[in-house]
């Protein structure tokens, strides 16, 4: 086992274990924190895959925004929720079963690919800087991926407006919207 493989194994284990803790942790704040660990492990994996920019994006967006958001939400909805007690719902065994089946199916499917056994990645043709630049250019190039980029920005706008509207405090009842 080379060094890289070892790093990979450690990272993978961290990711999996922390993922399991995310879904199994009885206290939600713990789960959120474990989620942060998982996201960090994924960022490391991105680095291993020579996608440094993506690793940074992962850290900034996922950990820095989404995980924080999740923690905020957990804290805002804390009062009545059962913070302790079983966190699995009634049909959790079905979920386990589905998970296992899914896992097996995915593996069976993927194993049929001829490239499954590819052990070494092909060499990178360009430098990392060039890749980042190329990534940026591709997102605005009219011949390439400007449309998904623009659509994604519209989506973000919609999400922005939507979440603001949704999360506003309820309006003062002026007597018009009451049941009487």
């Amino acid at each position: 086992m080379t060094l890289l493989q070892g790093v990979f194994v450690v990272t993978a284990l961290a990711a999996v274990i922390s993922a399991v803790m995310v879904v199994a942790s009885p206290r939600l704040v713990h789960a959120a924190l474990w989620l942060v660990v998982t996201l960090g492990a994924v960022a490391v994996l991105f680095i291993l895959l020579d996608a440094g920019f993506l690793a940074m994006v992962q850290v900034v967006i996922y950990i820095g925004a989404i995980a924080i958001l999740i923690i905020f939400t957990v804290m805002l909805t804390r009062r009545v929720m059962a913070d302790s007690g079983p966190q699995a719902n009634r049909a959790w065994w079905l979920a386990v079963f589905i998970g296992i089946v899914m896992f097996a199916a995915l593996l069976a499917l993927l194993a049929q690919m001829p490239t499954w056994w590819q052990a070494t990645p092909p060499p990178l043709a360009a430098s990392a800087d060039f890749m980042i630049e190329d990534l940026g250019k591709s997102l605005v190039d009219l011949d390439r991926y400007v449309v998904p980029f623009e659509v994604a920005s519209v989506l973000l706008l919609a999400a922005l407006i939507g979440s603001i509207v949704l999360a506003r405090p309820p309006a003062e009842t002026t007597g018009k919207t009451g049941p009487e």
């Binding site: 993922a19 399991v20 998982t38 996608a51 992962q58 999360a167």
Partner: protein, 102 residues
């Protein structure tokens, strides 16, 4: 050095754990965390395939960027929804939000 299959197995595992989180957790926020796990697994898959099969095409990374954007917006909206529901119903347990049942 690191076979592609390892990445793929890892991604599949993370995906299925996230799936369990979605289907098997009571709290709505926990469900969202499961969804984030699934999205991350998808990202790993995407980048692995990019690296091992077509490293010259930057499309793989672009795809992953878009997935990031989508995940972020979806998390924002989803959490806003959860907060709104919590305000109305004082609960975030998915089982109890069953107004649409028969």
């Amino acid at each position: 050095m690191i076979p592609l299959s390892w990445y793929l197995i890892l991604a599949a595992a993370l995906f299925c754990i996230g799936l369990y989180g979605v289907l098997g957790r009571r709290n709505a926020v926990a469900i969202l965390m499961g969804i984030e796990l699934m999205l991350n697994a998808v990202n790993i898959n995407l980048v692995a395939f990019w690296r091992y099969l077509t490293p010259a095409l930057i499309a793989g990374q672009a795809f992953a960027i878009i997935v990031f954007a989508v995940a972020a917006s979806e998390a924002a909206v989803g959490l806003a929804l959860i907060i709104s529901i919590y305000r109305q119903r004082s609960t975030v347990i998915a089982e109890e939000i069953d107004l649409m049942k028969w």
